[in-house]
Amino acid sequence: MRARAERFLPFALLLPAVAFLALLIVIPMIQALILAVIAEGGGFTLEHFERMAGDVNFSDAWRNTLLLLILIVPLQIVLALVMALLINSRFRGHGFFLYVYAIPLAISDLAAGILWLAVFTERGYLNSSLQGAGLIQQPILFLSFENLPGILTAIVVAESWRATAIVLLILIAGLQLIPRDFFEAADVFGAGRFRRTIHVVLPLLRPSLQSALIIRTIFAFQTFAVVFALAGRNMPVLAGEAYVWYAANRNEHLAAAYAVLLLGLTIVATVVYLRVLGLREAEVAR
């Protein structure tokens, strides 16, 4: 009797999570898939995908989403890694830095976007400070539609500020999982701090880096609130188009088509990461 109960226990413990995923992720996902291929009058159609591909903003949205992904994700991983290593070196007051780094985690996307808008706008904090310091005569129009590099820089800065913390936390957790004996062994063999990082820390951190990359890439595909706040209509992105088609244009079919496209991209990215950073059996077991 008892053995049987124990056999079911793991399943029982998994049940809440599975129910949660089914209810809030799987079912809506299937609904979105159906919405994307159903004609307004009923029946199967690819019309929504055709309309999406033919939309004025589609190619721009596609380009901008990938551009932001390429710019933001590597930058954040490097930043977070440096911050994590710094905190993990346990210098005096490292706890304080951890808290400071983690603050943006508590701020919503849109709030972060509006915050940075206040920094970068024509009469914003950045321009006032530069003018106050006598470095510029006229305010610089960072967010002008004529200044795409300016807009892009503002978005990359804002996004890095906002979402590096989540990568940082994953990496710190990963760092803390590395057994101390590895470091002691490295010390015994005379490895300096730098060699220790390259040959011991980074390889052992790979599983965490993989999770961080996957999560961050998924988030990068979903980015739009910060972009909306800083660039308005200047920089359409895929997730933003899904929102516009649902909320402003009230066309749930086209919004679903965008969502399905994003889902496909996310799956592809995840599979690539799993393959490229592939874990060996031993590491999975760890």
Binding site: E122, V244, R250
Partner: protein, 447 residues
């Protein structure tokens, strides 16, 4: 041990506090004290007053003297509110929404589906309050049932920083400008100060800019005498050329402007046309620094858009008499003045504006009157009959502006391509021509 006990006591206290707040908020009316037997509480759903301050004003000031059944005022973007109303209508039976407050154009598809009670009797009872007859007729949607009773109105006009007045082109009267003079004005400012100070509400953030309304109700009719039936004609091409010229003297950050009062206040721009409720903060804050004047006139006249917001009762209402009592409260002259004072929407009932009106509101009220009474003034309603396709229609219009003016694409190509999208939205919605386009038997045709 002691710590564990303390923790338990604290937890208990916390739970109690939560329970108490829960009890105290359920079922309590948000406005005034409860009078005997006013019926079930209900939801008042609206697409207006989405900014948080306006919501607070609604709950705490506009509803302050209301003594009826409990009212829960909710507001959100058009799509969300319309979805909720139509969901209750489709479900049938008794819903939660007792009163809705929507823009004229937002009613049409729901009205066509017969989602609302006939308010003819209620409108008759309001006779002494002298709501203009043409507004009441608008609320009938060409039929006999009074789908909505007008609630409040708004419009768009031009606001200028007084610093800009010295650059007015010679011979131009600020109260009777033409679009040509506006362009010259913006050019003068740009030439003399080196700054591009005209602003378009082109932003797409939390509060998206209302550029599509300016195109639908101001630029197009003033230049072409129509919107849909003149979408691609020679007058339209001339208009787009003028807008491209104006854009040269416009702040290039216009693409981030949702409401123009912010760049006006920071002086990023000196000139801009926007909705009254989206300029009031700067006019209230610095009434002596600004002038509010009628929108410019084009070759076909001084067209302006009149936004009428109406109140209706869904057939699924949980409390019809309660809803009528709320509508009656909202139409009282004193409530209408509070609505003007707090949220800057103008009264629909006959009421004299008090002399002690806030200076900023006074500026707006004068601009509204000057605009409506200009000798070349012609009024345009919000798009009618597009229902759920209204969003696609608006986006197609906005994208036309973005492609021609911002991205500098060839005018005729864009008009042909966007015209097809505009036509699809109209045909899908089966919307007849409205306003300046006159009438049509079938869906209005893009020409």
């Amino acid at each position: 041990m002691i710590r564990a006990k303390q923790a338990r006591a604290l937890a208990l206290l916390g739970a109690l506090a939560i329970l108490m707040t829960a009890c105290s908020t359920t079922g309590a009316p948000s406005g005034g004290g409860q009078v005997a037997d006013v019926g079930k509480p209900f939801v008042f759903a609206s697409t207006q007053f989405t900014p948080v301050i306006e919501q607070e004003n609604m709950r705490k000031k506009i509803l302050a003297d209301y003594k009826g059944a409990g009212v829960d005022f909710i507001t959100d973007q058009e799509a969300v509110i319309l979805d909720r109303i139509s969901a209750e209508a489709k479900a049938g039976g008794q819903g939660q929404i007792g009163v809705v407050g929507l823009e004229n154009g937002q009613f049409s598809s729901l009205a066509a589906a017969g989602a609302f009670e006939d308010l003819s009797k209620l409108a008759d009872k309001q006779k002494d309050r002298k709501i203009p007859q043409d507004m009441l007729t608008l609320g009938k949607f060409g039929g006999n049932t009074q789908v909505y009773v007008p609630w409040m109105q708004a419009t768009y006009f031009l606001v200028a920083n007084k610093k800009a007045l010295q650059y007015l082109p010679t011979g131009a009267d600020v109260n009777a400008l033409t679009y040509r003079q506006l362009i010259d004005w913006a050019k003068n400012i740009s030439d003399k100060t080196g700054q591009r100070r005209f602003g378009f509400p082109l932003g797409a953030g939390t509060t998206p800019g209302l550029i599509h309304r300016l195109i639908q109700g101001y630029f197009y009719p003033s230049y072409t005498g129509g919107l849909v039936t003149t979408f691609k004609n020679a007058d339209a091409v001339a208009m787009w050329n003028d807008l491209k010229e104006l854009w040269k003297y416009s702040n290039p950050q216009s693409t981030t402007y949702g409401v123009l009062q912010e760049p006006l206040q920071s002086e990023e721009i000196w000139l801009g046309i926007d909705h009254a409720a989206r300029m009031i903060e700067v006019l209230k804050a610095k009434p002596d620094d600004f002038v509010a004047v009628p929108a410019p006139a084009g070759p076909k006249g001084r067209y302006y858009m009149s936004v009428v917001i109406g109140l209706a009762i869904p057939k699924t209402t949980p409390n019809r008499t309660g809803g009528e009592a709320l509508i009656d409260h909202l139409l009282k002259p004193e409530t209408q003045l509070i609505t003007l004072r707090e949220n800057s929407f103008f009264p629909v009932v006959d009421v004299k504006l008090p002399d002690d009106l806030n200076k900023g509101l006074k500026l707006e009220a004068d601009a509204v009157a000057k605009q409506a009474n200009a000798k070349d003034a012609k009024v345009v309603p919000l798009p009618v009959g597009l229902g759920a396709k209204g969003g696609e229609f608006n986006t197609a219009i906005t994208n036309t502006f973005v492609r021609i003016v911002v991205k500098n694409e060839p005018i005729q190509t864009v008009l042909n391509e966007q015209g097809a999208i505009v036509q699809k939205a109209i045909t899908d919605a089966n919307a007849k021509c409205w306003g300046p386009d006159g009438t049509s038997s079938g869906p209005c045709q893009v020409k």
